[in-house]
């Protein structure tokens, strides 16, 4: 895949999202920019509340009404100049058709009172202008390719009659029904157990290579991200703090936060009763952003400069490896 022309599927520029609550304003996403090339996977990694879901929902305009996207934000999707300038009607033609999303909990992302087959067929009827018979045929084929056994029977079942793994396969079938160019997977395996997790991720990877689809994989599991993604962006407090190709990031972590995340993955070769490594302190309060580096209060390498001045994303020795740190790991401080 590497020898193909690097066509950009998605380009996000200076995306900022503020959420207005009754008490204060939360800067959920702060000046995030990234590119995604055709057929590639970008993993966005971060702890809960780091703004990764809000980031993706703002691409699809699924934000709650209290959230406001900053004016200077630009979202460029292939062919379309700026998604945020499109009218609601035009945008409805794109989402579902060209950009689709998979949600965290398959049980709650399916309508409990609608047969799953009908739910998959809906977007085919809506976007592809198929009639019911064609759609049903297509849906059964789609369900089969998702690894759902007995699709003819599953077609007429309700979500509560299916297991979590099958529900997530149905949700993926819904998302992939119209062959989108970009798939956003918002922690698609968090609600599933580990063996099913691997199956679902394999399925996504297979479909992706088949259809040359780009994917944004949101996860809080750095292990999953390294294994599955081409590029990894680490988010902290609404900002991207480190971004690099997967192998590069794995072998050459620069940002102390990423290292702390990595260290908190339990390892099989640890001796029994090893204390689980965790990151001390609390995630920062996004309502009152700090002046300096937002990770500084929890960082073991923090110095005076970290508290006073905010580090900007800058490339290190390699150009495609950017990080926001004054005293990165591997550089003499």
């Amino acid at each position: 895949m590497n020898n193909s022309l690097p066509a950009r599927t998605l380009e996000v520029k200076n995306l900022s999202v503020k959420i207005h609550t009754s008490h204060n304003i939360i800067q959920a996403v702060n000046d995030v920019s990234f590119n995604l090339q055709e057929g590639k996977t970008l993993a966005i990694v971060g702890e809960s509340g780091s703004g990764k879901s809000i980031l993706c929902k703002s691409i699809l305009r699924l934000l709650p009404k209290s959230a406001v996207v900053a004016k200077e934000s630009r979202i460029l999707f292939n062919g379309y100049d700026d998604l945020s300038l499109l009218s609601q009607k035009e945008f409805n033609k794109i989402r579902g058709r060209n950009i689709a999303m998979i949600f965290q909990d398959p049980m709650s992302s399916l309508n409990p009172v609608m047969k799953v087959g009908k739910q998959i067929a809906e977007s085919l009827l809506h976007h592809m202008g198929m009639n019911r018979k064609q759609a049903q045929k297509k849906v059964i084929g789609l369900m089969k390719s998702m690894g759902i056994a007995m699709p003819e029977q599953r077609f007429f079942q309700y979500p509560h009659q299916l297991s979590g793994g099958i529900c997530q396969r149905v949700a993926i079938a819904i998302a992939l029904a119209c062959n989108p160019k970009l798939l956003i997977a918002d922690e698609p395996t968090t609600a599933l157990d580990v063996t099913v997790q691997a199956e679902i991720l394999d399925l996504l990877a297979f479909r992706q290579s088949q259809k040359r689809m780009s994917m944004i994989l949101i996860t809080h599991d750095l292990g999953v991200a390294i294994g599955r993604a081409d590029e990894i962006a680490v988010m902290y407090a609404g900002k991207i703090v480190e971004q690099a190709p997967a192998e590069e990031l794995f072998s050459n972590i620069r940002m102390p936060y990423t290292r702390a995340l990595m260290a908190s993955i339990p390892r099989l070769d640890n001796p029994p009763h090893t204390t689980l490594a965790c990151i001390d302190g609390q995630p920062p309060n996004l309502a009152r952003p700090a002046k300096g580096c937002c990770f500084a209060p929890r960082c073991s390498r923090a110095q005076d400069k970290c508290i006073k001045e905010e580090p900007l994303l800058r490339p290190g020795i390699k150009k495609d490896h950017v990080f926001a740190c004054w005293y990165p790991i591997g550089e003499a401080s």
Binding site: K93, D105, S109, E122, I174
Partner: protein, 295 residues
């Protein structure tokens, strides 16, 4: 109550109610074709005749010949000598029309208002809910009196007035349930798939809120039949000689000491019908386990 709470398999009460409702509805529809006496024929020779009275009468037929006509007053006659059995059956029409039409009006309008309020929130919700609160705070009986006074009594006006009075309750049920589903992930998923707002409301939210709303509507059917009775009792209902259960009870109250059956028969029929609708509503509510007190 505790027993019926866990019961999801239809029991005897369910079958009793559904049989009774079907029976009453069929009779109301077919009343014109049944071999019944006229509901407004007054037999001044036999007022307050006890149930089962059999009378034979000399009448002139079309050719001027005198023939004997035999009449059986199965459930007796009322104070004006009208057959109670016939009047009960024709009264079913009025009671069922009001009992069914009013909740349907509430279901449609309340459903639409509540879904809009719960889905869009903001100003629409504020205006809508304030209007509903005003209607709720308005004394119902005064509205009924005003409407009967200006538009005249009659079943149509009665249905409109009662319909307006029940819309707020339906709006609240619909809004509460819509609020629950409007934030859910499957609604977001539908929006992600390019579904429009109207589509989301009709295909995603409506099927989910329909059963709790239908359960409430069924409970209201029984209540409305009773309300019609009360209004007819007060003289606000349908006008004589058209029979309604409430009007019959009102007629019977004057002679409760001499001929108690005149008021008791319609009361009993009303009791059975209201009970049946309530049991059906209970059953439907247990089915979806919707908690009471969503108002």
């Amino acid at each position: 109550m505790a027993e019926s709470f866990h019961k999801k398999i239809p029991g005897i009460s369910f079958w009793f109610s559904i049989t009774w409702i079907i029976l009453v509805t069929t009779i109301a529809i077919c009343a014109d074709f049944l071999p019944l006496l006229e509901y407004d024929h007054m037999d001044w020779d036999n007022p307050e005749a006890s149930p089962g009275t059999c009378v034979e009468k000399q009448v002139n037929d079309n050719n001027g010949e005198q023939i004997y006509q035999k009449k059986i007053y199965l459930l007796g006659t009322d104070t004006m000598g009208r057959d109670i059995f016939t009047r009960l059956i024709f009264g079913t029409r009025i009671s069922l029309t009001i009992g069914l039409a009013v909740p349907v009006i509430g279901l449609i309008f309340g459903g639409i208002f509540g879904m809009l309020a719960g889905f869009y929130r903001g100003k629409i919700e504020t205006v809508m809910m304030a209007t509903m609160d005003i209607i709720l705070a308005f004394p119902g009986i005064v509205l009924m009196l005003a409407i009967t006074f200006y538009l005249g009594p009659g079943i149509k006006n009665l249905v409109i007035a009662l319909g307006i009075l029940v819309i707020p309750a339906f709006t609240r049920v619909a809004r509460a349930n819509t609020l629950k589903f409007a934030q859910s992930e499957f609604v977001q998923a539908a929006r992600m798939m390019g579904q429009k707002d109207v589509g989301i409301m009709i295909f995603e939210i409506l099927p989910n809120i329909l059963i709790p709303m239908a359960a409430y509507a069924l409970m209201l059917v029984g209540y409305m039949i009773m309300v019609e009775g009360v209004l007819s009792f007060l003289g606000l209902g349908v006008q004589a000689p058209v029979p309604s259960w409430g009007g019959m009870i009102a007629d019977g109250k004057e002679v409760l000491d001499q001929a108690p059956f005149i008021a008791l028969f319609p009361s009993f029929i009303m009791f059975l019908t209201v009970l049946s609708f309530n049991l059906m509503g209970d059953y439907l509510r247990n089915l979806v386990d919707t908690k009471e007190g969503q108002l």
